[in-house]
């Protein structure tokens, strides 16, 4: 096959997959909302495009499936049939088939799928729906009708009862009469206001990720060299300040400094993509999972336009899927249980994403039964993960984190969805890989919130350089709230724990030297100490250091062969002069230090 043809085909596959990714959540939304002409039209057009392109390229099975689906979409759009659960199931099946066919094309494995049964099913369902849906279809609420009225009201009665006869319940009747009065309008015009959306596609360039990564690497190296030059120019400034060339050097270096920062940001932005890419799969996922455990759950997604690094997109899907499964399986109660508790029958999961400083925060909140802390502790003791004494002393906030311990699962019976023993610890690990952390808060019968915080980018971080016992360390800047200089007598001791009072709030203080167990204990007796205040979610603690050296951009290098968990180190960086500086993992510190107190 000639190269151009390959290229056209691969472009077709990418575009078709993107279309499917985009319309799949629309179906689920449609199922919840009932009728929405814009959405239906959007789906119809996407299907039509796939069909057209596949036809041109001669992929007959794709054409067949797309054609049958398109037929249904057309009838739906024109209000000739109504959306039923059965109809939806078959359409989703068709989408899965299209994906499978595209996958075969991509792999060039030459496998042919037999699409005849599926197209037959699609035809059958369409026929059934046309002759009046046996399962009643989706009833549309009055509210929605009124909204639609302004655009194309004649669709409504068709949607509400599956046939155009205006002879049903009072409500429909009323609308039906109004509709009839306006009937002359052609139903086909319904979609005219949405047609411009298709042309929205901006000027985009598809670039191989490898090329971008290469630029990213180079940018990282440049940051290192820039730091080195800054050091050297600083030296010249100190020692040869009378020389006019020194000034020129300083100027050039500071310009380079600015340009490097800008470039780094620009390269970083190339890799940024809206997190929607991951989220678009969730409505379908929630629909399928909740159906398989006989629960009713709806999902609301906010902030899907938030942009994150490509690597985050790649790694955040699995842990989030796991949390969602967990929420549906363990969190949300069965409809009966919910009604008995006076909650709405349908459970709700809200996914909210926003940027907070240098971090991306993803919150997954369910309105289920919450996590039973006592049961968690019991189970942990039973499994020998905790002793009775540890469990009874453990605060609720600390105890929630038991779910992240390896091999822990509380549900009595393991279901096929969650509770295979590989559970939330996997979530925790995956998030840690992204240099992020997970927090859980829970309230009995109100629900639980999982809060995932991850840095915007993974390769380069802003850090505060500190020194203890003569060794330099970098502390990531994002969790640092402030730095203070305190005198020795400002430190109090409460039951063996050093604390300081910051604006009337007591905050535990740890000697960084003591935590890291390196070097001599020199800083202890000084009159003054420098304190870095770390704030991670609800937790706050202080680290005492000997010196604050200033802020620097550091390139993270991963450490292999070192147990990073116990050493409180998340990576290392090489400074301008070739020395290694460890980047401290304050999240790990907070986990083991603050909970212990």
């Amino acid at each position: 096959m000639p190269d151009e043809m390959e290229e056209i085909i691969s472009e077709f596959i990418t575009e078709a997959e993107e279309s499917l990714d985009r319309i799949e959540p629309l179906f689920v939304e449609l199922e919840q909302k009932g009728h929405d002409a814009d959405m239906l039209n959007d789906i119809f057009r996407s299907m039509h495009t796939i069909k057209g392109a596949a036809g041109f390229l001669g992929f007959q099975s794709i054409v067949d499936v797309a054609h049958s689906s398109e037929n249904i979409m057309k009838k739906l759009r024109d209000g000739e049939i109504t959306l039923s659960k059965r109809l939806m199931d078959v359409i989703l099946k068709a989408i899965d088939m299209l994906r499978l066919l595209l996958e075969h094309l991509r792999e060039k494995d030459g496998i042919e799928e037999d699409v005849a049964p599926l197209t037959q099913e699609l035809e059958n369902v369409l026929k059934e729906s046309l002759s009046g849906s046996p399962d009643g279809g989706v009833t549309v609420e009055t509210r929605e009708k009124e909204k639609d009225e302004t655009s194309r009201p004649q669709d409504d009665n068709a949607v509400s009862n599956g046939e155009p006869a205006p002879s049903h319940g009072d409500e429909t009747q009323r609308h039906g009469e109004e509709d009839n009065a306006e009937k002359p309008g052609e139903p086909a015009q319904v979609h005219k206001d949405t047609s411009h959306k298709a042309k929205e596609a901006a000027q985009n360039l598809r670039v191989d990720v490898e090329r971008i990564d290469k630029v990213m690497d180079l940018a990282g190296e440049m940051v290192l060299i820039r730091n080195r030059l800054l050091n050297i120019s600083h030296y010249f400034d100190l020692n040869y300040s009378s020389d006019t060339q020194t000034e020129t050097l300083m100027e050039a270096v500071s310009f380079l400094d600015r340009v490097t920062s800008d470039m780094q940001l620009a390269v970083m932005k190339i890799r940024m993509q809206p997190i929607q890419k991951v989220f678009s799969k969730f409505p379908r996922l929630v629909r399928d999972i909740s159906a398989s455990v006989n629960k009713k759950v709806e999902i609301e997604i906010y902030g899907e336009g938030t942009e994150v690094d490509k690597s985050v997109i790649e790694h955040i899907g699995d842990p989030m899927t796991h949390i969602l499964r967990n929420s549906i399986d363990h969190g949300i109660e069965s409809p009966e249980e919910r009604i008995a508790k006076g909650k709405p029958e349908k459970g709700k999961i809200v996914v909210n994403t926003y940027q907070k400083g240098n971090q991306i925060v993803i919150e997954i909140t369910d309105d289920g039964k919450g996590i039973d802390i006592e049961k968690l502790k019991e189970k942990a003791v039973e499994k020998g993960m905790l002793t009775e004494e540890e469990a009874s002393k453990m605060s609720d906030e600390a105890a929630v984190n038991i779910i992240f311990m390896p091999g822990f699962s509380t549900k009595e019976t393991a279901t096929e969805l969650s509770g295979r023993g590989v559970g939330m610890d996997v979530v925790n690990n995956n998030i840690s890989l992204l240099n992020g952390y997970v927090e859980v808060s829970t309230q009995k019968d109100k629900g639980s919130t999982f809060r995932i915080c991850i840095p915007l980018t993974l390769a380069i971080i802003q850090a505060l350089m500190v020194e203890v016992a003569g060794i330099k360390y970098a502390i990531p800047l994002s969790p640092i709230e402030e730095t203070l200089k305190i005198s020795k007598d400002e430190v109090d001791n409460i039951t063996g724990q050093d604390v300081i009072v910051i604006r009337n709030k007591v905050c535990p203080l740890f000697e960084l030297n003591g935590i890291l167990g390196t070097g001599s204990n020199g800083g202890h007796d000084r009159d003054h100490k420098y304190v870095v205040v770390i704030s991670l979610g609800e937790k706050k603690f202080c680290l005492a250091v000997d010196k604050l050296l200033g802020q620097e951009e550091v390139v993270i290098k991963t450490l292999e062969g070192i147990d990073t968990a116990s050493s409180y180190v998340l990576g290392a960086s090489i400074t301008g002069d070739g020395k290694i500086v460890f980047i401290l993992d304050v999240t790990a510190m907070s986990r083991s230090l603050v909970e212990a107190t």
Partner: protein
Amino acid sequence: MSTATAGEEILQLVSFTLKDEEYAVDILNVQEINRITEITQVPNSPDYVEGVINLRGKVMPVINLRKKFGIEEKETDDTSRIIIMDIQGVTNGLIVDSVSEVLRIPADIVEPPPQISSGLNSRFIKGIAKLDNRLIILIDINKLLGDGVEV
């Protein structure tokens, strides 16, 4: 140096010394041998982890073999070397007193470690090669890090 004849399996080893003993590792695991460079201490690490070094932009841990084997400590000097090795996919440095030579020995002169040496370190030993009047201890490099935790 070896007296191997054709058809026999030949082991290629890098030999080095710790205190008075001679040890050897498989040459295939050895990436390079360096002089001691600046070593940065790792917080809360086992004492045999001397720290990390910067090898041309790559950060890798360095293990002090004397400490790992429970041999009395000694300051590093001019003859001390860091052997950079690939241990189960991870690059590590091993600090040794000195590196002697590359040996080619027939596999059949290697004897299993004697049962009596039930000491802590015998599990790192793959075998002992008798060579003229020398005894060379072959180290099982994969066991060196694999279960180092309980030491």
